[in-house]
């Protein structure tokens, strides 16, 4: 048996290269920094195999420009070379062969520029050769949020969780990400370090254990600190972001009053007595409360204690004992004890998918009989989930030779549908009963047995190519192809280094084509935001099988 006190990890005994070995990138070097080499130093390794070169440079603080001592610098030319910068921030590697390699820098308390902008080409590349000049690399100082939480009698509150949310753009959509938070210590202090620059939303509470405060003894029952967002309020919508610039240390203090905690109780029906039921309360941000809910399978009654006031959704899930799931969701507003809530568990639904492919040459063919090939895959993206976006992908059902795709265990709700063709195909239509999924969302009603999603794909795809330039200079950028269909997310395609691009497998139809420099800073799934850039977009109409060509002007994000 495993020894109790030794945390067991099987360390690698692989024959693979060691952890620090990275392949050098053989990429045309763009500009690594203001002070780099000229292009004549792109010496191919075969020419001067025996000559040895030095790589010199320095590392500075991106905020202050000061040189940084004790930074670990690593290059990968003929093995890995590492060294620490001196007090002047300088480093020098000697006896290196000619070539190019990534160069990485790190030091506790700092982030590398690569951590934020991986799409920035030319970052972190170094070249050795007869004419190379010193490189200057930057490290970004980290931010800290710290503070102090007291109650309205001035006593520190200990053991209170403090959480951080950061909003960023993912696939052109605003997404929330929870970062590691902290818990107040016995003096009510908390500290969260290692923060990259950004806008953070801070919440304090809810208290893990109910507490009773002497001044409030008149009220029976438990009291606790509810979830509060900085600067005030229980809803994320009312929260104000804390802006952390590089190196910023922000102090955030709270004075919180305990609130009564309430009990939510009621009964559950529709469950299978031998299966375990999961019951939780999700707040409006989609975060579940972590207190113990008690459920008595014999009587069907449940009780959730210590609920802070607020708006919630009570979510129940259970297996039905036959391989499927049951679910229920009940909205609740808690301002006092809530009793008699009746929750009816209903089966989740399976939505079959029927696909057909029309080839422009031979007419309709029905797919589904071919091995394991499906012409497209379908994903449902749940709406109104608060912070997180939940996705459900199509699953293969049935045996080989007679298999099809199905969306399984879908809970009632509203979903955006994404169809991803597998090959040179485009989606001509996607229908769910009378709902056109290219224009609207899919709605699943509780307890329904839904019709299939019918998808028709065609192979007479269109394509678009061209170049992007600014002031008649070609440059690299990212293309957004915005289709006329409301449900469709814009397609992205980066250009090559000279601004040339190729978008293949497009549905015929009307498009607005836009070229931007920083797609990661643009909320392109939001039509309101996108509208501001459309003056720089070109409109194009693509016919089936057409290959069109256009030229675009770069639109800078943020202007």
């Amino acid at each position: 048996m495993l020894p109790r006190t030794v945390l067991f990890v099987l360390l690698t005994t692989s024959l693979l290269p060691g952890p620090y070995f990275e392949r050098p990138l053989a990429v045309m070097v763009g500009s690594a920094s203001a002070e780099t080499h000229d292009s004549s130093s792109l010496v191919s390794p075969q020419n001067s195999n025996d000559d040895k070169y030095s790589l010199r440079g320095s590392v500075v603080n991106s905020l202050t420009g000061e040189p940084l001592r004790g930074v670990l610098v690593q290059v990968y030319l003929n093995g890995q070379s590492s060294m620490l910068t001196g007090a002047d921030g300088r480093f020098q590697f000697d006896n290196l062969p000619a070539g190019q390699s990534t160069i990485t820098v790190r030091k506790p308390g700092f982030f590398a520029e690569d951590d934020f902008q991986p799409s920035e080409r030319g970052q972190g590349l170094a070249t050795t050769g007869p004419n190379s000049s010193p490189v200057v690399l930057k490290l970004i100082p980290e931010g800290v949020i710290y503070g102090h939480i007291i109650d309205d009698d001035g006593e520190p509150i200990e053991g209170l969780p403090v959480e951080l949310l950061v909003q960023h753009l993912q696939n052109g959509r605003k997404a929330w990400e929870q970062r590691t938070g902290a818990v107040t210590d016995e003096d009510g202090n908390f500290r969260i370090a290692e923060l990259p620059p950004g806008n953070y939303f801070l919440s304090a509470g809810p208290s893990r254990n109910p507490v009773t405060f002497p001044a409030k003894l008149a009220q029976p029952g438990a009291q606790g600190i509810p979830l509060v967002y900085y600067p005030t309020g229980s809803e994320l919508a009312a929260a104000a972001p804390i802006s952390i610039a590089p190196g910023k240390k922000a102090e955030i203090n709270f004075t919180l009053s305990p609130q009564p905690l309430y009990r939510v109780s009621g009964t559950l029906s529709g469950y299978s007595p031998s299966e375990s039921v999961s019951l939780l309360l999700r707040n409006s941000a989609g975060i579940p409360l972590t207190y113990n809910s008690r459920f008595d399978a014999a009587s069907g009654s449940f009780r959730i204690p210590w609920v802070p006031p607020g708006a919630y959704t009570l979510v129940a899930d259970a297996p039905d004992g036959h391989g499927h799931s049951l679910t229920a969701a009940v909205p609740l507003t808690v301002n006092a004890d809530v009793s008699g809530v009746h929750v009816i568990l209903l089966p989740t639904v399976n939505i079959p998918i029927r696909m057909s492919v029309i080839t422009s040459r031979t007419g309709t063919e029905r797919f589904g009989e071919q091995e394991n090939y499906f012409p497209a895959y379908v994903q449902l993206v749940a709406r109104n989930e608060g912070l997180s976006e939940r996705r459900y992908g199509s699953q293969q059902v049935g045996e080989t030779g007679a298999s099809s795709l199905e969306l399984q265990n879908i809970a009632p709700g509203t979903y955006r549908v994404e169809v991803n063709p597998n090959g040179p195909l485009y989606v001509q239509s996607a229908m769910f009963g009378t709902t056109d999924l290219l224009e609207s969302d899919l709605s699943v009603a509780p307890g329904s047995s839904p019709q299939p999603i019918e998808i028709t794909l065609r192979d007479d795809v269109a394509s678009l190519s061209g170049t992007v330039s600014l002031d008649n200079r070609p440059l690299s950028a990212t293309i957004l192809a915005i289709s006329e269909h409301a449900s469709a997310t814009p397609r992205l395609q980066p250009t090559d280094a000279t601004g040339g691009f190729q978008l293949s497998f497009l549905s015929p139809g009307a498009y607005k084509i836009l070229a931007v420099d920083h797609p990661d800073r643009l909320e392109y799934s939001n039509p309101e935001i996108l509208r501001k850039y459309l003056s720089k977009a070109r409109e194009v109409m693509l016919l089936p099988d057409q290959s069109a060509k256009i030229d675009l002007e770069l639109a800078r994000v943020g202007e």
Partner: protein
């Protein structure tokens, strides 16, 4: 009374049930059916009242049955530290108190014993003085050789205490330093402590130093590169550091804390060259995964896992790097199908040593039989534990219905080992016997590479003694009750202890049948009661008791 649940559970359980409790009805002195527990919370050292202390009251029988409908209550003391629980039905209650900056404890708590409060007609429960001790704390800052803070270092707190009459040093807390290199431990009981730090230089690059020569060709196995000149200065580690400036526990400076003390223990870490150790393992076939981990034995109950790096150079040949000089345990973990065996070997690592663990794949296996002397059957959950006295590692294994057990997944090195019965409670080892190893009390010695077979002779503790402790004909509360076997030097597992409750009553459970002396010792909590010479003084003033199997008996005893 003895309370085995954690304090946090007491408070939590109380809150959970609070929702059921109707608002306390105003006390009606004329009604004889409900009673009060009333008292004052004070600082145990200064005597000052403690306002805002939070008190939890639980009926004593609900502690073993947290889902019972009996209600628990919480009250908060007022500005004078006064608290009151009114409207209580007669019964026995456990009271605990909590306040920021003080150590949470039960009423008159000693070790895991408390004076339970009996409430009812003629019972005194309204003049309690509940002393809380201010917690002590230890904090400090870690910096490296360049005076930069070291973040995410592992800081360990060891507490030296007397348990079971012996002095032991145990790991009690563990935290990481924050981004400023700062750590702290708070709410500590007074006592003697040691602090140790395990950290790695964040910039360390170890690489691999050895190459495998095949025939006449110098082949780098798997493309591993030798270290460049520039990297040698980065091939460093921090050895485990004890406060202050010590490399092991015996050399460490004890930190003596009294109630309310704030001690500072700072560290400055100094790098030393990392060792590169070649380890030869038994040649394995491709179905067996073999791994090597490195641990270090620090204290009685603590074996630390070191973040060494292991690279396989060739089948059966590994290089372990990232460790300093010193004595460590190399643990060879071998997968055999679904099972994993772990074999530990203590090695002194210095100057890039070579270690061979191929020796024998037949390391001794310990197995045996557990026999209960009254012949009663064992429950299916029965388990025994083997503990290496040298290394401190534990291994558990199940005991079959017929009493057989085997530690076959843990082939062992020669040395001294202890055996314990983990499950079921109430079963105690009288003696060990073995034809293949030397036994002594609960320990045995593995001297050769041969398998060892041990018979554990166990007795059921199914007797129970209840009673009342009297001082000058009045019941005495808070007194230490000791049940000592007639042969004081015999098996320490036969001793039982309790703390008398507010009406002087006590209960001793799981008593193994035999002859005993029952003692009640006032202020006995600082006594080295497990030392026969110390206890001998009290024997004459105690009560002789004889317990037969399954017997329950009631005894009064005079307080000494």
């Amino acid at each position: 009374m003895l309370v085995q649940k954690l304090l946090a559970v007491l408070f939590l359980m109380t809150f959970f049930q609070q929702a059921h409790v109707p608002p306390a009805s105003p006390p009606a002195p004329a009604t004889p059916s409900t009673f009060r527990i009333k008292g004052r919370v004070i600082d145990a050292i200064t005597g000052q009242p403690l306002a805002r202390a939070s008190l939890a009251l639980n009926p004593s029988n609900s502690l073993d049955n947290p889902n019972s409908p009996d209600s628990g209550r919480v009250e908060v003391a007022d500005a004078e530290g006064v608290f009151a629980f009114a409207g209580l039905p007669p019964g026995k209650y456990v009271l605990s108190a909590r306040r920021r900056g003080y150590i949470e404890q039960m009423y008159q708590q000693h070790e895991s014993f408390t004076t339970a409060i009996i409430v009812g007609p003629g019972c005194e429960s309204e003049n309690l003085i509940f002393g809380l001790r201010a917690g002590a704390s230890i904090s400090g800052d870690l910096v490296d050789e360049s005076d930069d803070p070291i973040r995410h270092a592992d800081v360990m707190l060891y507490h030296q205490l007397f348990t079971g009459g012996k002095r032991r040093t145990l790991l009690v807390r563990r935290v990481n330093t924050n981004d400023e290199g700062h750590y702290h431990f708070s709410d500590l009981n007074p006592g003697t402590y040691f602090v140790a730090v395990l950290a790695q230089p964040w910039y360390a690059q170890h690489g691999v130093r050895h190459r495998v020569k095949q025939e006449n060709q110098d082949v780098n196995a798997g493309g591993l590169q030798p270290l460049n000149e520039q990297n040698q200065s980065l091939d460093v580690v921090y050895p485990i550091a004890f406060y202050s400036n010590a490399s092991d526990l015996p050399g460490a400076a004890p930190i003596a804390l009294r109630s309310g003390d704030l001690a500072i223990a700072d560290f400055r870490m100094r790098p030393v060259p990392a060792m590169h150790v070649l380890v030869r393992t038994p040649a394995t076939d491709s179905n067996q995964g073999t791994g090597v981990t490195v641990t270090q034995t620090v204290a009685d109950n603590d074996t630390i896992f070191l973040p060494a790096e292991v690279n396989q150079l060739a089948p059966g040949l590994m290089e372990v790097t990232g460790v300093p000089q010193g004595r460590f345990n190399l643990v060879l973990n071998t997968q055999h199908g679904n099972a994993m065996t772990h074999r530990s070997q203590s090695v002194q690592i210095q100057d890039d040593a070579e270690v061979d663990v191929t020796r024998s794949t037949s390391s001794p296996v310990v197995s045996g039989v557990l026999r209960v002397d009254d012949g009663s059957p064992l429950p299916p959950s029965a388990r025994v534990r083997l503990r290496s006295s040298a290394i401190g590692e534990y291994f558990d294994t199940a005991v079959s219905g017929t009493g057989e057990f085997s530690f076959k997944e843990n082939p062992l090195e020669p040395g001294n080992y202890e055996i314990m019965i983990i499950e079921p409670q109430g079963l105690f080892i009288r003696s060990l016997s073995s034809a293949t190893a030397k036994t002594s009390g609960r320990s045995f010695e593995i001297a050769t590479a041969h398998d060892v077979s041990i018979t554990i002779n166990a007795s059921r503790g199914n007797g129970r003694i209840t009673g009342v402790a009297f001082k000058k004909d009045k019941p005495a509360s808070g007194v230490m009750i000791v049940l000592a076997p007639r042969d004081l030097k015999g098996n320490p597992a036969l001793f039982r202890r309790d703390q008398s409750d507010s009406d002087g009553s006590f209960a001793l459970n799981f008593v193994v049948p035999g002859r005993y002396t029952l003692l009640a010792i006032e202020d006995g909590w600082d006594l080295e009661w497990a030392d026969p010479a110390v206890l001998q003084r009290y024997i004459a003033g105690g009560e002789s008791v004889q317990i037969a199997p399954n017997q329950e008996t009631d005894v009064s005893v005079k307080v000494q």
